[in-house]
Each structure stands twice: as structure tokens, then as C-alpha cells.
Amino acid sequence: MSYLEYQVKFVPSGLKKLLYLNWPLVLLVTAVSCMGFIMLYSIAGGRIEIWSEPQIQRFGLGFLLMMAVALIPIWFWRGSSWIAYLVSIGLLVLVELIGEVGMGAQRWIDIGPLRLQPSEVAKITLVMALAAYYDWLPPRRVSNPIWLIPPLLLILVPVALVLAQPNLGTAVLILGTGGAVMWCAGVHWAYFATVFGAIGGAVYAVFETRGTPWQFLHDYQYRRIDTFLDPSQDPLGAGYNITQAKIALGSGGWTGKGFMQGTQSRLNFLPEKHTDFIFNTLAEEFGFMGSITLLALYGLILLFLFHAAMQCRDRFSSLLITGIGVSFFLLFCVNMLMVMGLAPVVGVPLPLVSYGGSQLLVLLIAFGLVQSAHVHRPR
């Protein structure tokens, strides 16, 4: 779509834009965030000032940013994609040089009161850059090997930088998000089949060569995999966290132990209970009803994102929304798989719920982009 087309068709302007926001999405995002506030209040033992209050303040700031981003026309954001991408790559390099290392090797840059994690930013700017690229690229060239090189570079540069931190979890998320955007852009399925085939073969080779002189990984790395596959092998060591996490989750039962009654989290059996493992506290205190509700809310957010993407008639907007949706999906999916013992513990927070500033802000800005695309689509 061209700027001209936006001019021809009806596009809301001024404060009228607020009426055209995707309000269900706004409400869903707020609702999930509120669940986060409640859980943070509970985990702090009924004290609001420890985690809940800073989180609410950040949410307030993020909400304003989301609205601001939403009100700026989408073509401005499309034009800024490359700059945003380059800035985020620059931040990734910068954090490598001057960043501070925290728990789980996540690196951040202190900007005043805010801890900026460039890897979070890069996930969104990558989606913007890829969407802009495929918006520009004529569709018949999409599957051309030559024209596959730029998007692959776009993806692999931040992946490599994040891996170097090292932050395997986020690197996988970036890779998955980028792949999903390329998939939706129409890259031939044979490429994907090849990649998945290669990954499968590599995993097979890794396990098949175990115990031979030419094994791929170190022994301790194999042992880590063993522990992941069967935490009970090492109940007090590496498997302790995941075992306790499963106990917290499972002991919630149908209806949970009740608000602020979660023994596993309150008595510190649960690790990282306010960040990566916050879902377990929720599941412990509100049971299956609580956890399935959160999953349903996430599902609804995805549904509205999908709907919004389908309504957009321009490639940039729909690829952007799809990419953000996949990124969001991968976050909660990997986190939940991880805390339920189906994936290795890689340090991925639960989106909108886990305590953490930059993650929340970046997500809200990303939803602002979605809203911008939704508001400014020609009708």
C-alpha cells in the first residue's frame, strides 16, 4: 500500500483514533498484567511495595507509551524500521562492551531507573525490519535464494549477539520469531523443511554419538540434558528447581490453595518465584482454574492479533502484527513449557506477568505498534 492509498481511503485522524483502537486487545493486555500485579502482591507476602508497585508504575508508563505509539501513523513506523533495527543492534554491541551481567547471564544497560535489555528490543525491531523488507520485496522474488540472504542476515546478527551474552533462551525466541515472519512472507516451504530436517539430524547425531570418542558435546552437557529429561535423577541438584516447580503447580489441584496461601512459594521452595516461575505460584494459589484462565487470556490475545493481522490489507502491517504475535506466543509458550517440566530451564519470563521492567515496556510498545497498524489501516 502506498501513502497515496492511505490518503484516498478513510483513515481516522486526531483523537478520533482512540475510538478506532482495538479495545478488546487493550483490555486483554491490561487484564493479564493485572493478574501479574496480584501475583506479585501475593508472592511478596501481601506487601505491595516490593514488586507490585514498581510493576504497576512501569505498566502505567508502558501503557502511555503504547497509546503514544498507537496514535502515530503506521507508515512512520514502517519508515523507522531500519533505523530502529540498527539502533537495537548497536545496543546489543554496546551491552556486550559495557553491560552488566545479572542472574541467568542476561545483560542490561542501566538507563536511569530503567534496566534496558537490548535483546528484548531486538526481537521487536527484527520483526519491523523483516516486515519492511518483505513489504518492499516483490512477492515473486521471496523464495529466490539471493533474496533470502538479507533476511537471514537480519535474523542471525542479533541471534549471534544474544548467544554471545550468553542467553540461549532469547536467541531461540529471536530465531523462531524471524522464521515465523519469513514463513508468513511466503518463503518456499522446502527451505523450512530443510532446516527442520537438519536440526532433527543434528539432535539425532548428538545423542547417537554419545559415549563415542567423537561425541558432539561434553559429558557435563549430556548430564544436563539427562537432568532435564528426568529431574528425579538429581532431586537436590539441578533438578531441584524444576521438581519444586512441578510440586507447586501440581499441588494447586483444581481450585488452588487460595490467594496468598501457596506454601511452595511462600516458604521459598520455589525458585525465581517472582520472575520465571511466577506461573507456578499462580497455578498453586488458583489451581487449574487459574492457570487455564491465564492460558485462555493469552489465547484470546493471539486471536485478536490474528484477526487484526487479517484485517490489514498491507503487507508491512500484517507481517508486523503476525511477527509480534508469534514473538508473544513463543514467550509464554516457552516459559510455560519450561516451568511445567517440558522444556529446559532457559530463563524466559512469562509475558506481562513476570516481574521485570524492560520486558513489560517492550511488550507494551509492541502492542502499541499493533494498535497503530490497526488504527491506521484504510477502511
Binding site: S2, D135, W136, P138, P139, R140, A180, W183, C184, A185, G186, Q244, K246, I247, A248, L249, G250, S251, G252, G253, W254, T263, Q264, L267, N268, F269, A283, G287, F288, S291, I292, L295, Y298, G299, L302, F306, A309, M310, R315, S318, T322, V326, F329, C333, M336, L337, M340, L342
Partner: protein, 652 residues
């Protein structure tokens, strides 16, 4: 960036199709998430709930107060006494070394205790109390408590520990408790969880061990919530448990103390039984030991001393010891013969000093012989030849049967450790034991309580009580449990002909009261309290014909452990039997000289319930009796002994 509209319309269907495929994959993965939630939270919820409870809830056992043990009059024999220990909690005490230095300024504290405490504090979490010193005196507790503001994190804790106020007097009957060892636990099939409490005391011997289940009580439990590092967050519930059951024994503490004091200096045992009820009024064992040593954990030196003492203080000889009953067994042989009708009581048997059986000479203790003896004479003079004859007539199986009827050779159900069964041998027994035929010589030996016959003092006391009453008196040590009277040991009639019993009793009366009776010196002078008894002197060595030829070596010339055992049994009063007594003095040389005087003193004490007046003794025995009483009083009151002449004099 110009594109044709037709191009984009070509792209759209593909875009939508891809997006739908992606959405489907996402829905699939969310399905996996939902399925996993259901699996963990619904299907396996019970399992995880249990695990969460196990994580969070710790059970702490509250040891119940052990049941007390009283004598028949309510005098406490085993009590629980508070013991104090000083504990320190690192997180409250500050720098441990300084805190302990402050404590050492207040109460005596050995450098080793300080080092051990510091070491232990390094190992445990900072909120765990560490014992600095156990069993501290009340003065130290008072000093620590008074200085509490200067000693943060240091407190005195109180616990209960067993105490035996009568010490050695009741050591063998009551037994003692000690800390549970891993070995003890390995012997139990289903150990009480209480035994997991470190240093938990449980009965090791005697009544403490045999009535352990009643005395222990039921553990209380404190359910506490702990966090992931084990710190106690709060108490969830508390169940104080049930105090152990109090037990009352049939023992009379006063008589028991007298018996122990009277036996002092000997390796001896004495049992006093109430004829009417079977109550064991005293079960004396000498020498004894202080059971309180074992409660605290006995030192190596004390243990070695007790173990190496040739008088074997740790053995409860009254029930564990199995001695050849010697002449006291003639009551059994005689009654067996009378019951079988193989001899008339007035029929006489010639005693020429020995009897020859299948070529072997069996000697009477009186080398010159007793001449013609009837049943009464045989017991009165303790003639061996008479019993060689009637023993052969009645046969060993009848003797063994009578012995068992009278309580010898059967294990009495008395809650003490290692109660001996004794031996009342018969043909079957020898075949089973030695795979050998019974010989007539064995019968001859058994008929005077030698050879294979073995009896404990308890069995001998029961035997006399049964003869005295004609009833199957059953020894009873436990009077009440939780205030409930235990079955009496009065027993049913033995079914022995009353005339036979009367003959036996009359003969026993003459043993003491006939001027030629073997125990005439040990008679009781008080009217209506006359005693009937029987002496016994049992060999522990074989006398060879050569020795016999040159004259039997006097006991006084033999080393202690080769001398004869001295035995005595009696009941009194003769006309209305109230108590029966059995005395065994190991290697005491002669029943009439070593055991009978003890028997009389004990019998008198039991009948009077206190020190008897000297008039109870025959006039020629009053001086020695007075000396004996003075000596026993001194021992009972813990005074130094007046002279060493007393007991030796009474034995002469």
C-alpha cells in the same frame, strides 16, 4: 516501492493460508500446554499435594514423660527428674566465640566443650540450637538465667531423665533405661518413632525393659511448618501425647533395702514371696550396682569395674542364677515318693554313710551315717542315703514332674531380664540334651538336688510357698498397671495329698525347731512365728575317691570359687504361712551356717515389717543379731560400718 495491485492480490491467499497454518501450530502447542496443566494439576494433584505437604510440614516428636514405678506401698522406685542443658542459637548470639566466652565467665565451661560447640555450630544452620553443656547443675542454670540479658541467644532448656532413688537396692528388679542405640533399633521389628529422638531413653533391663511398652507412653507430636532451609515458620498443631503408664510393683522397698544390706559383702541372692498372693516382696541380689550410672552413660572405668568383679554385680542372680539346689531339693524328692506311695513315712531306711549303686559309692554328707532314718528324720538331718533309696524307688520322671509342679524347672513369667528356666531333668530331657540314656546314678544325684538339677532362688522360693500352701502359687512382680490390679498369684490347689504336704511341712519345722535339726541355730523364738525350712549345701566340684580316702578338704581351705554353694529355703509362720524365703550364697560353704541365718533375718524382717525385737531370736543368738542389725542399719543409712565382726560371727 511501487507495486501493481494485481501482484498483491496474488500474494494474499498464500499469506492467509500460511498464517492459518501458523495459527494451527500455535493452537496445537497451547493444547499441549493445557493438557500438561490438566495432567499436573488434576490427574497428579494428590501426589503433588502430598509432596508439597512433605516439603512444608515437619513432625517433631514430643517425648512423653515415662511412667513411674512404685513399690507396693507407693514408694517411688523410678522417677523422672528434670535435667538442664545450656543451648546456644548462633543467629541470636552474635559472634559465637565471644558469646561462649561470656558464658564461660558465668558458669564453668571446659575448653573442649567450647571447641566442640563451635565446631557443631559451623555445621548447622544459624537458627538451630546447639547444646553447649548437658546435665548442668541447677546453680549453673540459675546463673545463666540471671545473666540472660548479657547472654543473648543462650538459654537453659529442661528435659526429663530417669532417676532411681533407691540406686543399687532395686537395680536388678527395676532395671535401668539408657539411650537407644542403632543396635537396639536393628533388633526391633517396628520401632516406635520416638526412638528416633537422639538419646531417647528406653528400658534396657528388668521391669524397665519388660514393661517398656506400657512405661513409654505415646509420643506427642508437634506439626511445624518449615521453609526451604528448614527454619520453623509456625506451629500448625500440637498433640502432647500420653504420659507413660505408672506401674506398681509388689516389692516392698523397705524389705528390699534390708535384704540388699543383709546380703552385702556376699555374692548372694534372696527372694521373699508372699505365700497368699505370690507377691514378690523382695528380690535381693548382691553385690549390686547403681543403675543411675547407666542412665547417664556409664564410664569405661565403671563398666570395666562392674564387668570384672568376680561377684558379678550385673547379674540378677535371684532369677538368672541356676544353682544345684542341693538338699533343698529333698523336699521335691520326698514329696514325689510320698505321692507315689513308694515309701511309707514311718518306714526307715538304713544310712551307713554311703550307698552303693551299680558299683559306685554315693556318700552321705555325714561320713558315719545316720543309722535308721524315716521321712521326718531324713529331712531333719538332711540324710542323703534315704533319698538315694527313695529316689531310685520313685524314679526320675516322677521327681521331675513333682519339681515342675512345685515350680522348679519351669520359667516363671516375671518381668525381669533373663529369667532362668532351671533344669528338672528327666529321661527325655537327657536324651534331647546329651543324646544319652538316663542312668540310675543320675537319679541318685538328682534325688539330692545335685547332678543335672538346677534351680534359681526364685524357683526355690516358689517351691517353698507351694509346699507351705498346697496351692500353685505364681510369683507376681507387678501389682498394678495404671492403677489396675494385676491377677493374683494365689493359684489353684496343686492337688497334692494334704497328708504328704503336712509331713513335709512338719519335717521342715523340725529342721529348724528340733534341737538336732540342721538349722536349729537359726530358729525364730517368737511364739506363733515359728519358721519351717530346709538347708542346702551344693557341691560345685567333684570329690574324688582319693580325696574321700584322705578326708574331704574343708571349704575353708579351698579357693572361694571352689567352695560349696550355701542354700536355704523357709516359710513362716509355720501354722499360718505368710512368707516364703529362698537364700543362695554363692560359695558360702554351708547352708546351715551361711544361708540359714540370712533366711531367718529376712523372714523376721518380712514378718515384722521392720527390725524385729531381739526377743524374736533365741537367747544365745541375740548378741550376733544385735550386731547384724546395727551393721545393716549402718549400710542402709550409708554410715560407716561399726565392726566387721557381725556377719562373720553370725555365720560361725
Amino acid at each position: 516501492m511501487k507495486r501493481q495491485r494485481n501482484e498483491s492480490s496474488e500474494v494474499w491467499p498464500r499469506m492467509t493460508r500460511r498464517a492459518v497454518l501458523l495459527g494451527t501450530a500455535q493452537i496445537g502447542l497451547m493444547g499441549v500446554l493445557g493438557w500438561r496443566m490438566k495432567q499436573l494439576q488434576v490427574d497428579q494433584a494428590d501426589e503433588f499435594k502430598l509432596l508439597a505437604e512433605e516439603n512444608r510440614v515437619n513432625m517433631r516428636l514430643i517425648p512423653p514423660a515415662r511412667g513411674l514405678i512404685f513399690d507396693r506401698n507407693g514408694v517411688p522406685l523410678a522417677t523422672n527428674e528434670p535435667v538442664y542443658r545450656i543451648v546456644i542459637v548462633r543467629e541470636a548470639a552474635g559472634e559465637p566465640r565471644e558469646a561462649l566466652a561470656r558464658l564461660a565467665a558465668v558458669m564453668p565451661l571446659e575448653p573442649e566443650a567450647i571447641d566442640r560447640t563451635l565446631e557443631e555450630m559451623d555445621r548447622v544452620a544459624s537458627f538451630v540450637p546447639v547444646t553447649v553443656k548437658d546435665r548442668v547443675s541447677w546453680d549453673d542454670v540459675a546463673r545463666v538465667t540471671a545473666n540472660a540479658p548479657a547472654l543473648p541467644g543462650i538459654t537453659a532448656e529442661v528435659g526429663l531423665s530417669r532417676h532411681y532413688p533407691h540406686g543399687p537396692d532395686t537395680a536388678h528388679v527395676v532395671g535401668y533405661v539408657g539411650p537407644v542405640s542403632d543396635y537396639d533399633l536393628s533388633l526391633m521389628e517396628d520401632p516406635d518413632p520416638l526412638f528416633q529422638i537422639p538419646k531417647f531413653q528406653f528400658g534396657k533391663t528388668g521391669v524397665e525393659a519388660k514393661l517398656e511398652d506400657q512405661l513409654r507412653g505415646k509420643a506427642g507430636a508437634q506439626r511445624i511448618e518449615v521453609n526451604s532451609v528448614g527454619r520453623v515458620m509456625r506451629e500448625l498443631s500440637r498433640d502432647e501425647g500420653d504420659k507413660g503408664t505408672d506401674v506398681q510393683l509388689t516389692i516392698d522397698a523397705g524389705l528390699q533395702a534390708f535384704v540388699e544390706a543383709r546380703l552385702a559383702g556376699e555374692s548372694a541372692a534372696c527372694v521373699v514371696i508372699d505365700c497368699a498372693s505370690g507377691d514378690l516382696l523382695a528380690v535381693g541380689n548382691a553385690p549390686s550396682f547403681d543403675p543411675n550410672l547407666f542412665v547417664r552413660g556409664i564410664s569405661v572405668a565403671d563398666w570395666t569395674a562392674l564387668n570384672e568383679n568376680i561377684y558379678r554385680p550385673l547379674a540378677a542372680k535371684a532369677v538368672q542364677g541356676a544353682y544345684p539346689p542341693g538338699s533343698t531339693f529333698k523336699i521335691v524328692t520326698g514329696l514325689a515318693a510320698l505321692e507315689a506311695g513308694v515309701i511309707d513315712p514311718e518306714e526307715t531306711v538304713w544310712c551307713g554313710g554311703y550307698t552303693e549303686v551299680s558299683g559306685t559309692k554315693f556318700h552321705c554328707w555325714k561320713s558315719g551315717g545316720h543309722g535308721n532314718v524315716n521321712f521326718n528324720d531324713s529331712l531333719k538331718y538332711s540324710c542323703d542315703c534315704y533319698y538315694y533309696e527313695v529316689g531310685q524307688r520313685v524314679g526320675i520322671d516322677a521327681i521331675a514332674a513333682m519339681a515342675k509342679r512345685l515350680g522348679v524347672g519351669i520359667r516363671h513369667n516375671v518381668p525381669m531380664s533373663a529369667v532362668a528356666e532351671g533344669v528338672a531333668p528327666d529321661r527325655a530331657w537327657k536324651t534331647a540334651q546329651y543324646d544319652d540314656d538316663w542312668r540310675v546314678g543320675d537319679t541318685v544325684n538328682a534325688s539330692i538336688g545335685q547332678g543335672y538339677v538346677l534351680a534359681s532362688p526364685l524357683q526355690l522360693a516358689v517351691m517353698v510357698a507351694r509346699v507351705a500352701t498346697g496351692r500353685e502359687v505364681i510369683p507376681r512382680l507387678v501389682k498394678t498397671i495404671a492403677g489396675v490390679e494385676q491377677p493374683s498369684g494365689a493359684g489353684a490347689s496343686l492337688g497334692i495329698n494334704e497328708n504328704s504336704l503336712r509331713r513335709a511341712r512338719a519335717s521342715m519345722f523340725d529342721v529348724v525347731n528340733h534341737e538336732r535339726g540342721t538349722a536349729h541355730k537359726s530358729r525364730i523364738a517368737t511364739d506363733g512365728m515359728e519358721m519351717a525350712g530346709k538347708t542346702g549345701t551344693s557341691q560345685v566340684r567333684r570329690i574324688t575317691p582319693e580325696e574321700r580316702a584322705r578326708g574331704v578338704t574343708s571349704n575353708a581351705d579351698l579357693p572361694w570359687n571352689r567352695r560349696d554353694h550355701a542354700l536355704w529355703v523357709d516359710f513362716a509362720p509355720y501354722n499360718n504361712p505368710r512368707v516364703a524365703v529362698a537364700v543362695v550364697v554363692e560359695h558360702g560353704s554351708g547352708g546351715s551356717t551361711a544361708a540359714a541365718p540370712i533366711g531367718r533375718d529376712v523372714t523376721l524382717q518380712a514378718l515384722y515389717g521392720t527390725f524385729p525385737p531381739l526377743e524374736a531370736y533365741p537367747s544365745d543368738a541375740r548378741d550376733t543379731a544385735a550386731a547384724m542389725q546395727e551393721r545393716v542399719r549402718a549400710i542402709m543409712e550409708g554410715r560407716p560400718l561399726p565392726t566387721e565382726a557381725g556377719p562373720e560371727g553370725s555365720r560361725a
